[in-house]
Symmetry: C2
């Protein structure tokens, strides 16, 4: 299928609104201000650059800010996000498996910069783990796509049912189910069940800081920071971790593992309050005492053009 | 100094208000309801028992609910809390180093019950780590105190300065500094400084799920669940852990350690929002971009009667 109609989804040009308010005065270190202003400039230039390249190609494209997205994206052949993983994550919540997406990391982290300023502040920029392009290779990657030389990878997403009702949002990276107060204890139990109902699983009871579940794509994000392991990008397994379990005792070995696509997790929530966070703080659903949550990889995949490091079949798309 | 005037601080008699509302219908498993109702009953009986014992002793005492506490506790010789560690923690925020406190664990966890119901739900009750008494030994412990046979331990607490202003609240267990959304990334840097200014410490930059710092008393609570170690109860060191650090790289070894009473920690907060949680969700202070937070063990100690397992000097109090 030829790719002719594109949506260009942009991280806001001014990601640090506080810089225009008294916020700027709160920052005592002038180098922090320079770093933030440079981030805005580099991002702005990357948008300009991508638009110039697109204007030379046999495509129609329309730019919008990610903050203006409110409806599922349907009538385009591809979405290009310009920003970091956050912008691609944001876009993924408006895309099913019918529209492929290419991420452009507009402001990649510069290792030397992080090293030089390490004694002052964290000068990291965008990691862009899911972004196949930067301004360096954008035209090459775009041509590969437009001329059918590469196909998108089918990246697994998390599907959720709350009290047996399927939620519209799918998670590309991860979900966290926890009390809304970061310092509160969450009470819940979970079971891993086979879809064919073959076995009767053990109930695992937990008092902890919440339950985190990630996809392969999300295994390098919060899960890895919490001590989880990186999964092959195209794996359809889901990895879970009970966060900071209180006295797990004999169930300690059950606090962190994976489950297969032919399995799902059943959670019973026992705290008064709770929230399901989908891909960070972007999408949230409240839960309450007695709610059941079913978690599986039954969500529609996201078709993502991944960087060449990941094996991609060379066949007609 | 003779102990004659006591304040009896009580965990609310009905800690599960939702049981009186439609909440009860949300709980499908009748054994969960029985467990919750039993907890209320055992707690109520413990209060009645303690009051009967106190009525036989040469003391004046006044009972109040912990929820009715609003001012520092001054004009009493001792506070007795009846509940769990949560009630003692709550009381500690109204007590300086002039009034000793005795905790009575009104509803201790029953190991056999947790084991029997483990495949259904978590039937643990109160841990009571800081509580020296239960109904089993309350009269004996009370007599030991009234007749001066035991003295309270001096338990360290955390002192906080926000932008150089000392906060009134001290932490008996721990503090967590994090974005208010549990799934958000917190950006901050910290340094451990010597009070005598002898050395110029390294700045450690962090992107993570927040910063947790605990006292010795708090080292068996959230810190241990997060992978920290238990400290000797009377240690005046503070233990800190950067929670779920993102790509710590060469600073990985600096993410979890302790600092001495002659040191303090300086934190620079770089996220738009943030909250200091003191001893769980009970006490909270907002922080914003550019704020500085100074953390030390300079707070007034809490004088707590600890269980006999902890060495106590047998000297006149």
């Amino acid at each position: 299928m030829a790719i002719r109609k594109l949506l260009l989804l942009l991280k806001p040009i001014d990601p640090y609104p506080f810089l225009q308010t008294e916020g700027a005065s709160l920052i005592k270190n002038p180098q922090v201000l320079q770093y933030l202003e440079s981030r805005c400039k580099v991002h702005k230039n990357a948008i300009k650059f991508c638009q110039e390249i697109l204007s030379k190609k046999p495509v129609e494209w329309k730019p919008i800010s990610r903050n203006d997205l409110s409806h599922p994206i349907r009538d385009v052949d591809m979405v290009i996000t310009v920003g970091g993983d956050g912008t691609l994550l944001h876009a993924s919540h408006f895309i099913d498996d019918s529209v492929p997406v290419l991420g452009v990391n507009s402001d990649p982290t510069q290792a030397h910069e992080v090293e030089e300023l390490s004694d002052q502040f964290d000068a990291s920029r965008s990691t862009g783990h899911l972004c196949a392009a930067t301004v360096e290779n954008f035209e090459q990657v775009l041509d590969d796509i437009l001329f059918g030389r590469v196909v998108p990878a089918k990246v697994s997403r998390i599907s959720l049912k709350l009290n047996s009702e399927t939620l519209l949002s799918h998670a590309l990276n991860d979900i966290l189910i926890a009390q809304p107060c970061p310092a509160a204890v969450s009470r819940f139990s979970f079971k891993i069940k086979n879809k064919d109902g073959a076995s009767s699983p053990k109930t695992v009871n937990c008092r902890s800081s919440g339950l985190r579940i990630c996809t392969a794509a999300g295994s390098t994000a919060a899960m890895q920071s919490a001590g989880g392991f990186v999964m092959p990008m195209l794996s359809r397994d889901l990895q879970f971790m009970v966060r900071e379990p209180i006295s797990p005792g004999s169930t300690a070995s059950l606090m962190h593992s994976t489950f297969k696509p032919d399995q799902f997790m059943d959670v019973n929530w026992y705290s008064d309050h709770g929230t399901i966070y989908i891909d960070g703080c972007q999408v949230q659903h409240s839960v309450q005492l007695g709610d059941t949550i079913e978690i599986s990889s039954d969500a529609p995949v996201l078709n993502v053009f991944l960087s060449h490091g990941i094996s991609q079949i060379r066949s007609r798309y």
